[in-house]
Amino acid sequence: MGLEDKLPSGIVLTSVEKLAGYMRKNSLWPATFGLACCAIEMMAAGAGRYDLARFGMEVFRASPRQADLMIVAGRVTNKMAPVLRQIYDQMAAPKWVIAMGACASSGGMFNNYAVVQGVDHVVPVDIYLPGCPPRPEMLMDAILKLHDSIFDEKLGPNRERVIKEVELAAMNAKPTHELKGLLA
C-alpha cells in the first residue's frame, strides 16, 4: 500500500500497525452502492434515527475515489457485476467490502440465471451480513466488527503471513455439506 509495507517486521512495524489501524478504522468512507431493498436499510442507518455519524461515516461518497468501504446492498445481477468490479477497482487501497444481506452474500432467494450467487465471486468480501434485509442495527454491528478487524489489521510481512494462514485454513476447511451436528 505504501511506505509502511516496506518496513521490516519487528517492534517498529507493530507500533505503526496499531497507529495505522486506529486511524483507518476511525475514518471509513462508505461508497454508495445500493442495489435493492437493502439500500433502504443502509440509508436508514445513515439517517438521523440510527445515526452512522456517531462513527464518523454518515457521508456516503458518490465517487469511488473518495471511498474505502463498499457496502454492497442488494442482489448483484450478471449485468451489474462488471460495473461493481470497476467501482471496486477505482477505490483507493486500503479498501473493504461488506456484503449486506442474503442476496449479496450468497444470491439469496434469487438462485437463477440472472443473479451472481454471492458478490464474493466478483470482489473480496470482508464481512458477510445476513438478513433479508438486515436491520440498521445489524449493519452497524457489521460495521463495528469491521472496525475491530481494521484496527487489528497487519501490515507488510505480517500481513502476508496472516493472508497465507487464512488461505491455508480455507483450503483445509471441510465443505459445508459434510459438516455434522448443531452450531459451530
Binding site: K79, N111, N112, Y113, A114, H177, L179
Partner: protein
C-alpha cells in the same frame, strides 16, 4: 387453443401433500366473439371498418373477453391498422408491447400484445399479433408510437421477437452477449445447488417443481 393441465408444481405419485397433484384442468383461450360486442366495442369496430377497407382481410379474429376487446391482426397489416387507430380513431397512446410464448400453439408460438388507450374517447383496445417461432418477425411500431422503442427492445430481449424497422434493436435488460431469451417457456431457470450443513439441495431447475 386448448391445453390440458394435470397436477401442479410438477408433483407425481406420492410426496405431494398440497392436494394439487390430482388437479385436472382444461385451459382454453377465448374464441372469436360475435356481434354485438357490447359497450363501445361495436363503435370502435364500425369506425375501423369504415376507415380501413381491408378490415376483413387484416383482422384474424375479434375477441371480447372479461369486458376487454382484442383484435388479432395479421403482421403484414399491423402498421396500417396502427396508423388508422392512431389518426382516425384517436388511440393516441400505446402502452407498450408484451410478449407471450405459447409453445403448444403450432406456427403461432410467439404473440406480441399492444394495449392501446384513447385519451380523447377514454377507450381501450388491445392488438395481438402471432408469429411462428421459426420466423419471429413483426414490423416495428416505433414510427407510429415512438414510446414503443424500449418496449420492443425488451420484448426482443425476453422473447426473441424481431421487430423489423426498429431504429436500434439491441438487448435492453440482459447483457449484450447473452445467449437465448429468458422469458420463453423452454428457457432453463438456471441456478446452482445450495449447500447447507450436512445437506445439499439441487439447483432450482433440477427440483421437481420446475421440471
Amino acid at each position: 387453443m386448448v391445453h390440458n393441465e394435470s397436477g401442479m408444481f410438477g408433483a407425481s405419485g406420492t410426496g405431494d401433500t398440497s392436494g394439487y397433484g390430482g388437479l385436472v384442468r382444461q385451459a382454453e383461450n377465448p374464441g372469436s366473439a360475435q356481434r354485438p360486442y357490447g359497450g363501445y366495442f361495436d363503435q370502435v369496430a364500425d369506425d375501423l371498418e369504415r376507415a380501413y377497407p381491408d378490415f376483413a382481410d387484416a383482422i384474424e379474429k375479434v375477441v371480447v373477453d372479461r369486458g376487454e376487446l382484442t383484435l388479432h391482426i395479421k403482421r403484414e397489416r399491423l402498421v396500417d391498422v396502427a396508423n388508422i387507430l392512431r389518426d382516425k380513431l384517436k388511440f393516441e397512446m400505446c402502452m407498450g408491447v408484451s410478449g407471450v410464448h405459447y409453445p403448444t400453439d403450432t406456427n403461432r408460438e410467439l404473440h406480441a400484445v399492444y394495449p392501446l388507450l384513447s385519451i380523447t374517447n377514454n377507450q381501450r383496445v388491445r392488438l395481438e399479433v402471432s408469429v411462428p417461432d421459426t420466423d419471429p418477425h413483426i414490423p416495428s411500431l416505433v414510427e407510429v408510437w415512438a414510446g414503443n422503442n424500449w418496449h420492443e427492445r425488451e420484448t426482443f430481449d425476453m422473447f426473441g421477437i424481431i421487430f423489423d424497422g426498429h431504429p436500434g434493436l439491441t438487448r435492453i435488460l440482459m447483457p449484450d452477449d447473452w445467449q437465448g431469451h429468458p422469458q420463453r417457456k423452454d428457457y432453463d431457470l438456471g441456478g446452482i445447488a445450495v449447500e447447507y450443513k450436512g445437506a445439499t439441495i439441487p439447483a432450482p431447475s433440477e427440483r421437481r417443481s420446475y421440471k
